[in-house]
């Protein structure tokens, strides 16, 4: 077992069961704890599903999962929305283009995080191919998920953003927009839009922490630090201290600073900080408990597309209590997180 998974993070049950038969006592104990926790999450999911009407998704028997299907295309600075020339396919070694290799690795890191921690098979949970389109546009200072299976990467304008493929949290953020689209489908305006943005930062930072083997206390909780240009250094957003990432950062750190009618990237600071407080109050790896609580909330059919901060907060508490117990440290940490940002439960 690697150091990264030495604690009770959630691994695929088959692997956990094999580890539970290990001769190494520490490995066996960790695996047994993870199996128990995983079982509680499965039970909570089943209870939620049984209590609410949900639209069943089609079941694919064609895939076992655990392996991404990546293809990287070179858009050659055009703004065509159709994939360009293939420069690297799944299983191929590095190509001469660094941006293409960074995109390939970032898509892989995001797949690995979602699969290993949540057993989610790609963006749609059913093995959707991951298509990365690099060198989109001319000095295009942005990266985005287009909602139809493509992630576009601009080369950056050198001022606001540099080469966007270099940000593993950026890739995790954008692909999480695809996950959200497949789950709660949070409407991209108002509080639900700020939640949509926050959920992408919440899982984007975890993809980075997971890839670097960081725990909640060793992470800098900065978004975009690896791709920010000189005009916005040192980072685009701070989940720890919203409003402090750069001199143009207008994110509020709690509801006292909420901006009515504000941009979704502004008010997302509030739920971002709530998550930071939960993760750092609990300590350990963010994906041990805080991440799974947020993920269960995102997947809960009770989370409506027009959800408010309060709707979301109440569901995080419900899932913390279901998975860990009403008076558990996890449920208390969730309460503290929302109290810190003044969202009433």
């Amino acid at each position: 077992m690697t150091a990264r998974c030495a604690r009770h993070c959630i691994l695929p049950p088959g692997l956990l069961r094999r580890l539970a038969r290990s001769a190494d006592e520490a490995v066996r104990d960790a695996a047994l704890r993870s199996l128990a926790l995983d079982g509680r999450f499965r039970l909570a999911r089943a209870e939620t599903a049984a209590s609410l009407l949900r639209i069943p998704k089609s079941v694919s028997f064609a895939r076992i999962g655990g392996q991404p299907q990546r293809t990287i295309y070179d858009q050659r600075n055009s703004e065509s929305q159709s994939p360009g020339k293939v420069v690297r396919s799944e299983g191929q070694g590095p190509c001469p283009d660094q941006a293409a290799n960074q995109a390939y690795d970032g898509l892989g890191a995001t797949y690995a995080f979602y699969w290993t921690v949540f057993e989610r098979d790609s963006i749609d949970g059913a093995g959707e191919p991951m298509l990365g389109l690099v060198h989109y546009g001319r000095r295009y200072p942005n990266a985005f998920w287009d909602g139809t299976g493509h992630m576009f990467f601009g080369d950056g304008d050198g001022q606001i953003l540099t080469q966007t493929t270099a940000g593993i949290d950026v890739i995790g953020h954008e692909l999480t927009h695809g996950v959200t689209q497949n789950e709660a489908n949070l409407t991209y305006s108002g509080q639900s839009g700020a939640l949509n943005e926050s959920v992408s930062d919440v899982f984007g930072i975890q993809v980075k922490q997971y890839a670097l083997g960081q725990d909640a206390h060793s992470s800098d909780w900065l978004i975009g630090a690896d791709i920010v240009g000189p005009a916005l250094r040192p980072a685009l957003r701070s989940m720890k201290q919203p409003g402090s990432a750069n001199r143009h950062d207008d994110q509020p750190a709690d509801m006292d600073g909420y901006v009515p009618g504000g941009d979704v990237h502004t008010n997302s600071g509030i739920p971002n900080r709530a998550f930071y407080v939960v993760a750092t109050t609990l300590g350990g790896h963010t994906w041990d408990a805080a991440g799974p609580i947020w993920y269960a909330t995102l997947r809960d059919p009770a989370l409506r597309p027009n959800a408010t901060f309060r709707d979301f907060a109440r569901l995080t508490l419900k899932h913390a209590q279901q998975a860990y117990g009403a008076d558990s440290a996890q449920a208390q940490a969730v309460t503290q997180g929302w109290e810190a940002v003044k969202v009433p439960l």
């Binding site: 200072p141 942005n142 990266a143 927009h177 991209y188 143009h248 901006v259 941009d263 979704v264």
Partner: protein, 99 residues
């Protein structure tokens, strides 16, 4: 023709603002840009976002003596307007996302 332009959205979460003037373009580009500007769907309701983190452009002009506004997604920008909007990164001032 002077146009007040604000680009919003994008992963970076900041706005970029400038007042751009078609007079700074070459004559042929300027006349094509001005024709495209006249045909924009001024004063229509704002469009729904096409996807998270995409850019949208808010344009405003006092041409004709009264304020007119329109918001376009980046996919709606007519090609003849691109030379004008390409001036934005150089001339624009960064503003907070909600500023």
């Amino acid at each position: 023709m002077r146009i007040d332009v604000t680009r919003r959205g994008g992963f970076a979460g900041v706005a970029l603002h400038a007042v751009l003037d078609t007079a700074t373009l070459a004559a042929a580009e300027a006349s094509r840009a001005e024709a495209a500007l006249r045909e924009l769907p001024w004063d229509r309701p704002a469009a729904e976002p096409i996807a998270p983190d995409r850019f949208r452009y808010q344009l405003a002009t006092y041409e004709g003596g009264h304020l007119r506004r329109v918001e376009l997604t980046e996919c709606e920008i007519p090609d003849p307007l691109r030379p004008l909007l390409d001036l934005l990164p150089e001339q624009g001032q960064i503003r907070p996302a909600s500023g």
